[in-house]
């Protein structure tokens, strides 16, 4: 029987690539993932350990797809330690994904956020729009997909580092605000630390620019049932992960402020 996108498939890792300090891309072939929209995610299952939501960092590049993992916990450490030929389970893609709009978009990425934005860049380019891409990281060693983005975007790629080791010295959101003030962008996309996205949204919304931000929460069921990933009246797993300006305004009291922990308690968003 042919599998459905919600069924778990076994995929063989075709390639495992260290992208930059702390980030590892896992490449695989999967019939459903190649049909994903930019911004969608899969549930990656490490049998016997955990199942975690992962944004697709590549969709159908020569028939292959990838996720890009930062080792921050048990599951992501295990994923980062896998080798070509190893196998994991995947189901999905799930979620709404980005809607590709605007002739002159600006994209603001922080840390691991660049992962979900890579397929968006490719889709924009294929539709003839060249985005300005602000790639932010703590330090120059953590700039994810730097070379790929340089190749794709040339001068439209700009870099910021918190420690000033490369490009603009300071937060990506600060750099983005300056760019948004002086250039005529018509759409803003952002993925990364929530405090960064909240800042980007505040600035862009103040200038009347429409925003799409990809949010992260603990996702358990991934099919919109359990409510573990609730942000206001929305479920990150199916109503998101991409929130548009209207949704972001609806969740103003939570976005960049608080999030549910695994037990359902609200805790502070601290990065």
């Amino acid at each position: 029987m042919p599998t459905k996108l919600e069924d778990t498939r076994k995929v063989v890792l075709t390639n495992v690539i260290s992208e930059c300090e702390g980030f590892t891309s896992l490449w695989f072939v999967d019939q459903w993932t190649v049909k994903a929209r930019p911004g969608q995610y899969i549930m990656a299952w490490i049998p016997g350990l955990d199942e975690v939501p992962m944004s697709l960092s590549a969709i159908d590049e020569g028939g292959q797809s990838s996720i890009t993992v930062r080792a921050v916990g048990e599951a992501t450490e295990a994923l980062s330690g896998l080798e070509p030929g190893d196998r994991i389970g995947v189901r999905g893609p799930f979620g709404n994904g980005y809607s590709v709009e605007g002739r002159s978009p600006i994209i603001v990425a922080g840390g691991s956020g660049a992962a979900s934005l890579m397929p968006l860049v490719r889709e924009m380019l294929s539709k003839g729009a060249v985005p300005t891409f602000v790639l932010g990281a703590r330090s120059s060693t953590q700039l994810m997909f730097l070379e790929k983005l340089e190749k794709l975007l040339g001068d439209n790629l700009v870099v910021s580092t918190d420690d000033g080791s490369r490009g603009y010295s300071g937060h990506a959101s600060g750099y983005a605000a300056k760019l948004m003030e002086s250039n005529g962008y018509d759409h803003v996309y952002t993925c990364g630390p929530e405090l960064m996205m909240a800042r980007v949204f505040l600035d862009a919304d103040g200038m009347g620019l429409p925003v799409q931000a990809s949010l992260e929460r603990y996702i358990k069921c991934s099919v919109g049932l359990c409510g573990a990933c609730a942000v206001g009246p929305y479920r990150v797993c199916v109503d998101g992960p991409v929130f548009d300006s209207g949704m972001l305004r609806d969740v103003r009291g939570e976005f960049g402020v608080s999030k549910m922990d695994l037990s359902g308690k609200m805790t502070r968003v601290d990065h």
Binding site: M43, L49, E51, K220, L225, C226, A230, S263, G264, K265
Partner: protein, 320 residues
Amino acid sequence: MSKLSLAVDLAGFRLRNPTMNAAGVLGMSPALLKRVYDAGAGAVVTKSIGPVPRTGHPNPTLVQVSCGALNAMGLPNPGVDYFVDKIVKLKEMGVPTVASFFGGSVQEFAEVAYKLTKAGADALELNASCPNVAEELGMLAADAGNVEKVTAAVKAETNLPVFVKLSPNVTNIKSVAKAAEWGGADAITAVNTLLGIAIDVNFRRPVLTNTTGGLSGPAMKPVALRCVWEVSQAVEIPVIGCGGVTTWEDAVEYLLAGASAVEIGTAVMTRGVGVYGEIVEGLERYMAENGFSRVEEVVGLAHEAGRYTESSLDKCNIRV
């Protein structure tokens, strides 16, 4: 004919229509439950709340199976002391709220019920039947004597209507339902999920971290419907049907089987949050087309259907 009304009364708890979300579905956050209410539900049911915070089981906690889902969330909840504010919030927003709850002992059940009552819930649903915490808590609904004891202890701590939610994973659900009624239950919710397993052929292991999980959705509807049929024969108190309600026809089946209201859960996965309003609309159409003006008129009708005879053509709904 009097004006059609979908309102129902469950032991003094009045609902604008006989639909609610099933406990555990979207029940963690007031804003999301408000969305369920705005989508058309008659009332909402919270996530099952226990005495202390629990993070639940590690993922995978849900796997989709043919015509349903298998889940073992493991009763994640922030604990009753934290959750009382959420009840207050729901009531401030004007949402009729059933607080689902559980405990690890008779004393804990009673304490949590007391706190949820003080917080301002409209009714309580005693979760006697979570199948996914058996090792830690045991499944209360497996034992009629315990169900009676816990129900009585809870009733002593609250003046609210108490619905006791039963498990289909028992030999004789009628005796457990009766025990709840003897303990003072105001209604029976029938039923919780059906215990099952899903195995991954590639990794040659159970998919759920908890190994077993609860089956929900259309796959288990006939079982749940049979439970409602049996329970409604066994007790005098109202029955709330729960299990695989996906369409308005499913809801009507439950009413005909003896349920006074239905809880809808897994259908949110396949049909979205809008499913509540769609089912309510379908139910209203059915009642109008069939000449019913109140929901109670439909409840339990299938039990009276009887055998075909010349003189009972109307009762068989053959000649109307």
